[in-house]
Amino acid sequence: MTVTPANQLEERTPDPKGAGPTAITSNSPTALAFARFRKDKKSWVALVVVVVYISAGIAAPFLVMFGVLDPQTANQDLLNANTLPAGDFWGISWTHPLGVEPGVGRDVLSRIWLGITYSLAVSLAAAFIAVFVGVALGIIAGFAGGWTDAIIGRVIDLVLAFPQTLLLLAAAPVGLAILTEQLHVPDGALAQGMFVVLVLGLFGWTGTARLIRGQVLSLREREFVDAARLFGASRRRIWFKELLPNLWAPVLVTFTLYMPAFISAEAALAYLGVSVRPPTPTLGNVLKDSIQYASGDFLYFFAPAFMIALIVVSFNLLGDGLRDALDPKGDR
């Protein structure tokens, strides 16, 4: 990653290794990173998958509104005597391309598709919280040093030492009650979703905070920060104008790597019954039911698991690719 302040970029001789055959032109680090990323086919594929998922996720609520997707209507007439989808190939048809759910006959594609929306929304919101808290505390700890740094460091240790999953299971009723009764969030999917977002976000920031603190520790000793200080720049100016622009690369990478972690965490929590509850079809909720049908209804078993695996792998590859592009010398 670059640690060079923006105002020195023009004078700097480009790194021949990253600049390609025409070594004469001067490239910005962004352009260099982009050039590296462009050569990484694996990451491109991952990026495309992620973009498709996000577009699908945004489109789903509108498709439901216009009746193209229907995740709730029961079609028990499409089931056989064993209450599994009737017909060959797990009951797939033009109206139900991935078949219908055993027992009730709700459209599987609609439920998975809408599940992507919920899962992405939850992980996106949680990732924003985690990155925001992590960056803020990381900069404060790294720049202030001394007591402030020590206290934040111990808070990080404390949060890391918490048995998160256990706490989540035990605290879910209490957390939900606080949200609905004290903060007057309407009971139901919204409150449950907020609880998961808050918990994932508020327990997930520690990694970012440590990373950012480390970066800031080295950045604050650099000449351009000293120069800014000599010119009498305010602390706020140093934070936002001198430090933050040099941190966007690690922030982007951690954000991208938070997404798959939170998507799978949400699915696991749904499985344990503390995420958004049915009948809302999150990916975790669909998966929880479908895993029983490994032999009975293979497509129903396979589709949601595959969808989760694909998005998690794609985000991970994208995150790795970004890190390689932005910080070619960094350790894996």
């Binding site: 089931l79 209450t83 344990l272 032999s295």
Partner: protein
């Protein structure tokens, strides 16, 4: 389909736990088992080892603390005998009629059913070789009063019936054998005269022998081995088997071996315990799936395996060909029903509309279809005396949204009418809820689903809950509607009140139902001179409930069993609460 799966994986055991925890034993079914059943008690060859694959842990192996239907049924056949017992038989009338076991006859009653006496057989012994005495029976019954130490079990019946005054400070004047207060009162209520034990009750108990056969509260217990709560997993057998090592492991189970101090001459092997296998290995799992995988594969020792884990719908497609020959489908004693909240749905027309709009067929299909349940027309199980098809619920089982809508309009309420449906969350219950919601919404309701996890029964017994409909399940404790209607709808025995007389807990009367008409019929039934009059009065009481829509019946659960190819004499009868009966079972060696 309630899968009786353990909590950890699913948080979804609530539905299953109803059947398992609340509803214990007894009951019956009018459908003889079909499929793999090999008829009534023809003798199988002796010997071999039976594998019993169990998918959830028991609550205790102390007879006075057992209340799971499957455990009562299995242990009655293997470890714990009592005064009388139910014989295995495909005819529910036979299987619901107790026969003598440790007693010489099925008891004699005097004073209109208020006093019951039994005389013990000669030569009956514990597994340590000592005689089973009248004092052991008396001591066993006294343990019902130590419910502060011995939690669980079904001792509350005998505790309520025995003629011992109530303590004005709460509870009974007799505080149980460990504390000893009021021992003289108990000694007057239960007396021993040589080999004859006499129980004195405060009101007539015409079906007392049924309760003795079904539950284990009146089973004998040897005072010298009683260590209170520390005896929770100790087994002192008097049946044909004993537990190897004497203690049950809650997470692993145990091995049953022959009890050499058991004398079949004191028993009726052809009615109660053929005891064919030489050994029974209990093996515990935390979910039904691995058990069913093993039974489907039917390899090695699993050929001689049975289980109390019902086949979940996801496995239905694997049950075909030769595997299907190893199955049995039987109507169980357990009924699932909905309870409208009388405090929020105050208009009877709204409750009727709800009942009429309920799509029972869809509910059953979402559970797994005809192998999971059959429509119920009353809260009283069809296998019980006193059952009648209630007119209020006898219409179409698909639900009639138009008729329901007409009723709602007649009631003059604003449509859509908002209701909240509360149920114990599980994958199956999520599906049934989706179906019920769709049916109700067609009729003009607007349904909010409220799935709850582990805390389900702690929420629905709260008087101020905002649920309009809750789900529940029940099975009779012994073959009498007296163990169905009063425990579920008599507000006097269900409600707990604080010092100001405010109701603080609804008990099992989840719908806050209070009716003088119903309660007076129950009182008349309780003091009825004979069982037939009692049953007539209970049928009338059930009709009062149905007309008030105190409940909406959903279905009678169907048990769908799979067993190994080496099993002989597989039976599921009223005596075993439709679980695999270990009385006649045998294995191929």
């Amino acid at each position: 389909m309630a899968k009786m799966r353990k909590r950890m994986v699913a948080l979804s055991a609530v539905a299953a736990m109803t059947a398992a925890v609340l509803a214990a034993c007894g009951g019956g079914s009018d459908n003889p088992p079909s499929g793999g059943s090999t008829g009534d008690g023809e003798a199988s060859a002796k010997g071999g080892t039976l594998q019993y694959l169990q998918h959830f842990p028991f609550e205790s192996t102390d007879p006075q603390r057992i209340y799971y239907g499957v455990e009562l049924a299995n242990f009655r056949r293997t470890l714990y005998r009592s005064l009388v017992a139910f014989p295995f038989d495909n005819d529910p009338d036979v299987a619901n009629t107790p026969v003598p076991d440790l007693a010489t006859d099925t008891g004699t009653s005097t004073e209109g059913g208020k006093v019951w006496s039994f005389t013990l057989k000669d030569g009956i012994k514990w597994e340590d070789g000592s005689d089973i005495t009248c004092e052991d029976f008396k001591y066993g019954a006294s343990r019902a009063f130590a419910d502060d130490v011995l939690t669980g079990g079904a001792g509350f019946y005998i505790k309520g019936y025995l003629d011992i005054p109530a303590d004005p400070k709460g509870g009974s004047m007799y505080k149980g054998p460990y504390r000893g207060d009021g021992q003289e009162l108990f000694d007057k209520a239960v007396t021993c005269d040589g080999k004859t034990i006499t129980y004195n009750f405060n009101k007539p108990w015409p079906d007392f022998p049924l309760s003795v056969a079904s539950l284990m509260a009146t089973d004998p217990y040897k005072e010298s081995i009683d260590k209170g709560d520390r005896s929770k997993w100790v087994v002192m057998s008097n049946g044909p088997y004993k537990v190897d090592g004497g203690t049950w492991d809650v997470n692993k189970g145990a091995t049953f071996v022959r009890n050499e101090n058991y004398d079949p001459a004191t028993d009726s092997p052809d009615l109660l315990r053929q005891a064919n296998p030489d050994q029974i290995n209990y093996e515990l799992y935390t979910a039904p799936e691995p058990i069913l995988d093993r039974l489907v594969a039917d390899a090695g020792d699993d050929k001689n395996a049975v289980t109390a884990a019902r086949i979940p719908p996801a496995y239905f497609s694997q049950i075909e060909g030769p595997v299907a020959d190893r199955t049995a489908t039987v109507e169980s004693p357990y009924t699932n029903y909905l309870v409208p909240n009388q405090k929020t749905l105050t208009d009877p027309k709204v409750r009727q509309a709800l009942a009429i709009a309920t799509n029972v067929d869809g509910y059953i299909k979402a559970e797994g279809g005809e192998k999971a349940g059959v429509p119920a027309e009353s809260i009283i199980n069809p296998g019980l005396p006193g059952y009648t098809e209630q007119e209020m619920f006898s219409g179409s089982n698909e639900g009639d949204p138009d008729a329901a809508k007409a009723l709602l309009e007649e009631a003059g309420v604003d449509l859509p009418y908002p209701i909240k449906y509360t149920y114990g969350q599980s994958e199956t219950q999520d599906k049934t809820a989706a179906i019920l919601k769709e049916g109700w919404e067609k009729a003009g309701f607007q349904v909010t689903l409220d799935p709850l996890a582990d805390t389900y029964y702690d929420v629905i017994n709260q008087p101020d809950k905002d649920s309009d409909v809750v789900w529940a399940g029940w099975g009779a404790d012994w073959p009498s509607a007296m163990t169905v209607l009063p425990p579920l709808f008599d507000s006097r025995q269900n409600f707990a009140t604080d010092a100001n007389g405010n109701v603080t807990n609804l008990g099992q009367d989840y719908g806050y139902y209070q009716s003088d008409e119903f309660e007076s019929l129950v009182d008349q039934a309780a003091t009825a001179p004979d069982i037939d009059t009692q049953n007539d009065l209970l049928t009338q009481a059930d009709t009062v409930l149905a007309n008030d829509v105190a409940y909406i019946p959903l279905d009678t659960s169907t048990f769908y069993w799979l067993y190994g190819s080496g099993i002989t004499n597989f039976m599921t009868d009223a005596a075993s609460s439709s679980y695999p009966d270990l009385g006649p079972i045998g294995v191929t060696q």
